[in-house]
């Protein structure tokens, strides 16, 4: 296989990991929403934690994106 083709395939494979980040972010917002509807009074105090969890989950997916970009542009 040509090196260029292998590079593109590898970058595509690395980007699959972003699906995991999508699942994680969906879990966080879904669970926050169901919790907030059960106890709306406590929802506002947990909003910073929601943003923190969102950012942490998103970051793991972006690590994979960085790997993909390194494969594409550095090697």
């Amino acid at each position: 296989m040509e090196a260029e083709a292998a590079k593109l395939i590898g970058a595509g494979l690395a980007a699959i990991a972003l699906g995991g980040a999508g699942i994680g972010i969906g879990h966080i917002f879904g669970n926050y929403l169901s919790g907030a509807l059960r106890n709306p009074a406590a929802a506002q105090s947990q909003f910073p934690n929601l943003l923190l969890g969102f950012a942490l989950a998103e970051a793991t997916g972006l690590f994979a994106l960085v790997v993909a970009l390194i494969i594409l542009f550095v090697f």
Partner: protein, 256 residues
């Protein structure tokens, strides 16, 4: 300059976003070498100065009156936002670190926001910048831990309430997770900024490629994405500040 010439040629060819990574290129404005070190004044340096200037102008101008003006209210809101977040996590033990965290938060927030201006340069989209910031946080938190607790700070790596035979596995994990903190902190900020700006550039390329008839759909998408990116710009500055405070909290009030 060579880079600008290449950029101009790419724009003249009609493909504004032929290379979505071009916006991250560092160009020397005033070349300067000291020994083997390249200490040139680059566009990154220029934008860092602009960020600091905007921060200083925002906080120093606008007056300070008993009945605040609109500008002063915004200033007080930023102050209260960071101070309230620190009170929630650290309590009163961390008052001394407020200037540090507030400076970090304002620098990253303004750098991210100025990066959203077209044709500007996003300082935080380079890992060397964010890694330096994260390393300062890491070294400060470690130093505070050792000053407060002495050698007892090493107990940080020994989780309490686990059976002794688990410790040979858990201690290395704790050590690794402690030392990857600056990496995850810096990569999170840099990757968010870089991915967001690359995505905007790619969609801008779609608008140009589809022309006046089909370009409206990606243009509408661009507007929505710009809104999302402004949210992310704020969110990442907030997350960086929150994690800094959490690390300081670990160092000041050891939980393990």
């Amino acid at each position: 300059m060579k880079g600008e010439a290449a950029h101009g040629a790419a724009e003249a060819a009609g493909g504004l976003a032929l290379d979505p990574m071009h916006q991250f290129q560092i160009q020397r404005i005033i070349p300067f070498k000291l020994g083997g070190l390249d200490l040139s004044f680059t566009n990154s340096t220029l934008w860092m100065f602009i960020v600091v200037g905007v921060c200083a102008a925002f906080l120093l101008l606008g007056g300070s009156r008993l009945v605040p003006s609109r500008w002063q209210s915004v200033k007080e809101m930023t102050y209260e936002f960071v101070a309230g977040m620190m009170r929630d996590i650290l309590g009163d033990s961390g008052r001394a670190f407020f200037p540090f965290v507030f400076t970090l938060f304002m620098f990253i927030l303004v750098a991210n926001m100025l990066g959203m201006v077209p044709y500007s340069f996003t300082v935080t989209s380079h890992i060397i910048v964010t890694f330096t910031l994260a390393l300062v946080v890491f070294i400060l938190a470690t130093a505070v831990g050792f000053v407060k607790h002495g050698a007892g700070y090493l107990k940080m790596f020994v989780p309490s309430g686990v059976p002794a035979y688990m410790l040979p596995i858990l201690i290395p994990i704790e050590v690794i997770s402690y030392f990857t903190r600056p990496i995850s902190l810096s990569v999170r900020l840099f990757a968010n900024m870089m991915a967001g700006h690359t995505m905007l550039k790619v969609f801008a390329g779609f608008v140009v490629a589809l022309g006046i008839l089909g370009g409206w759909a990606p243009l509408a998408m661009m507007v929505a994405l710009t809104g999302l990116e402004i949210l992310v710009a704020f969110l990442q500055a907030y997350v960086f500040a929150v994690l800094t405070v959490i690390y300081l909290n670990d160092a000041i009030n050891m939980h393990h």
